[in-house]
Symmetry: C2
Subunit: 392 residues, 2 copies
């Protein structure tokens, strides 16, 4: 097929709850023609293209599974393949796979699905996916502030160089100097997996969404040690306000305190701040070292969560004194999967043909943008294919 | 008094267990003449000079209290003052105080002790104390490696510039360009208080020493997600070994796992690595940004603990590719208190007169230096005063 696509729109119809939707019910008018998967340490992300019969259109679909339940992900893809084969018998599909799990689970995917699994480099896919989203999808990139939580950015004339901070279980930091040249310059093991792991032990929360929800009701000052707790006032000589966090969780370690007095909500807020602040600080220091003034934050850690984006933005703004910009993406969690998708021979060739549909502009203009989370959490992206030929 | 001192030696006689030794029993031949205190968020550090009657000698004594039990610290100082007054009636002592608690507890100290409390700036004291220790106390500064855990360093001809990373409840990072000029360039809230707080909740450990002990028996691979756990192998293209930690605590968040299966020892090791690695990385990035190639690590977090020093050293060496040196101190936790002590008018004037005694050289040469912890954990420093006159 040639996915020469001239229109893309973002649908926010039904939300499929992560890991729960096992059935795939494509409308009769659609069929699946291309699939990619990005298998990380905690989550496996699937992107697939479903073509609308009789039209040039179709959509990119985005789905997440827990890596621990990789068999659910394989079963999901098996059904996609089944649908596809039913529609076009004899046409053999290829699956593009990236992330560590593309290696760890290679045999299992190949043996269960009986199709060709083509592995693509993880960092390459992240950048390919990001470049595609930045360049071709309008209303994809935005800055966050409390007063303007979703301020969309025009693609700048000089896209390069920039930095990508991809926050999954762990964090990778990449410097990107052109569409095809990049380098992993740093990273930290203090990432999403750290927050999820600590909070699942400390709060009993069962899902990351529960944790984020709890953090919204929490007050970190009940567990964090602030400058004011140590000084009684600001430490103004060196510019530390009394409200500055001096020590994350620093109020907890006291011998004669009943540990049960610390609320899960407060702990959730504190650790979310801790991890986000720390990533923001390390991102800033690396951006400074490499002279980069645009930082894209990607990965499933963010999930359009306002406190997370606010903390990352605040950290970058604080440390860089406003000279470096923190940028977010509506498809933040799918950079690698989208990049792997673009590696499908024909998609790649025509990737520059994705453009905005008018309907998207209007739809977004009418959206209550303060509700950033739900605006981000769409799971499909409508595209119109110029050439509907599904072979080649 | 004039503390013009020409000999200093380090005694490793009796170890007083932190916070437990409430009585002070100076030998009859000694009396206290100068006191300083550095009150941080978690620990209050006391330094006092006890003079040996009939000689020119005396010693610097080092004691720690939990800030939460600040009254124990005040009581301890009250007894020191009592001793001193008994020995020299009518002679009024001044206490030099620094750290946030010098402000927060100022009234309580003044009212309970009935003496003049002179407050000194915390950062200034840290640097004054560090410069004194670097310059005047031989066998104070060392580098750490597994094969040579305590490799002492000669004071370099060019001491400045250098960086100090002071790790208490939180972390302060200072750039020092001369004996009197310095700047707090960075810091992180992810410090000792974070580790102590998290481990007291997660492992039930009651003291930091218990936590460190547990960490020595732990295997972080049971809770950390390694590159090999995600990839099955190295990710050699970008230089990540399969043993590299991809996500601290990244193995914990799994829905169907009994959380009790995670051993306190493994969690302790993981979080000690996490905090130490992170501080090492942020220290490196700041050193790089400011062109500094010598980093002193101070603060009560380190406590001469081999895993901590090894992790900090490893992180600095890894990130800087060997170009930056991590330096440790035998009196790491007392920089601020020593600095405040040096602010006593006469001490400061004569601070350069502390020198090594021959006996110290011999004593250290005979020490089993592999036992770094006990070598570091001395609580006194013998000094010989040239001028025994106690007035001035």
């Amino acid at each position: 097929m040639t996915m020469n696509v001239v229109g893309a729109s973002i649908c926010d119809e039904e939300l499929i709850v992560q890991g729960e939707a096992r059935d795939i019910q494509l409308p009769n008018t659609e069929h699946v023609s291309q699939i990619s998967v990005d298998i990380g340490g905690s989550l496996a992300k699937v992107v697939y293209f479903s073509r609308r019969a009789g039209t040039k259109g179709g959509r990119l679909n985005f789905r997440k599974f827990e890596t621990e339940k990789i068999d659910d992900c394989i079963e999901f893809i098996r059904r996609l393949l089944e649908e596809s084969r039913a529609h076009r018998p004899g046409h053999e599909l290829v699956i593009k796979a990236t992330g560590g799990g593309a290696h760890l689970y290679y045999d299992r995917f190949r043996d269960t699905l009986g199709v060709n699994i083509e592995r693509e480099d993880e960092m390459d896919c992240l950048i390919t996916g990001l470049n595609f989203l930045i360049t071709e999808i309008p209303f994809e990139v935005f800055t966050y502030s409390e007063t303007d939580p979703m301020c969309f950015e025009e693609t700048p004339a000089d896209k390069f160089p920039y930095m990508l901070v991809n926050i999954g279980s762990g964090v990778s930091i990449l410097k990107v100097t052109s569409a095809t040249t990049f380098e992993r310059i740093s990273g930290t093991s203090l990432g999403g997996g750290t927050l999820w792991g600590l909070l699942s032990l400390l709060t009993g929360a069962k899902t990351f969404d529960e944790m984020l929800e709890a953090s919204q009701e929490g007050d970190n000052r009940n567990v964090d040690m602030l400058v004011g707790d140590i000084y009684g006032t600001d430490y103004s000589k060196i510019g530390l306000k009394s409200t500055t966090i001096a020590s994350s969780m620093g109020k907890v370690f006291k011998k004669n305190v009943d540990k049960r007095q610390f609320r899960p909500q407060d702990i959730s807020r504190s650790l979310l701040y801790m991890v986000s602040n720390n990533i923001g600080q390390i991102a800033y220091l690396n951006a400074q070292a490499h002279g980069l003034d645009r930082i894209y934050f990607g990965g499933c850690f963010i999930r359009g969560h306002p406190i997370t984006m606010n903390t990352l933005s605040y950290a970058i703004n604080f440390w860089s004194k406003g000279s470096i910009k923190a940028l977010f993406l509506r498809h933040e969690g799918y950079l690698g999967a989208v990049g792997a998708f673009m590696k499908h021979r024909s998609s790649r060739r025509n990737s520059r043909s994705f453009t905005l549909t008018e309907s998207l502009t209007q739809k977004l203009a009418a959206t209550e943008l303060t509700d950033v989370e739900s605006t981000i959490a769409q799971d499909t992206l409508d595209v119109d294919a110029v050439d509907a030929a599904d072979s080649d």
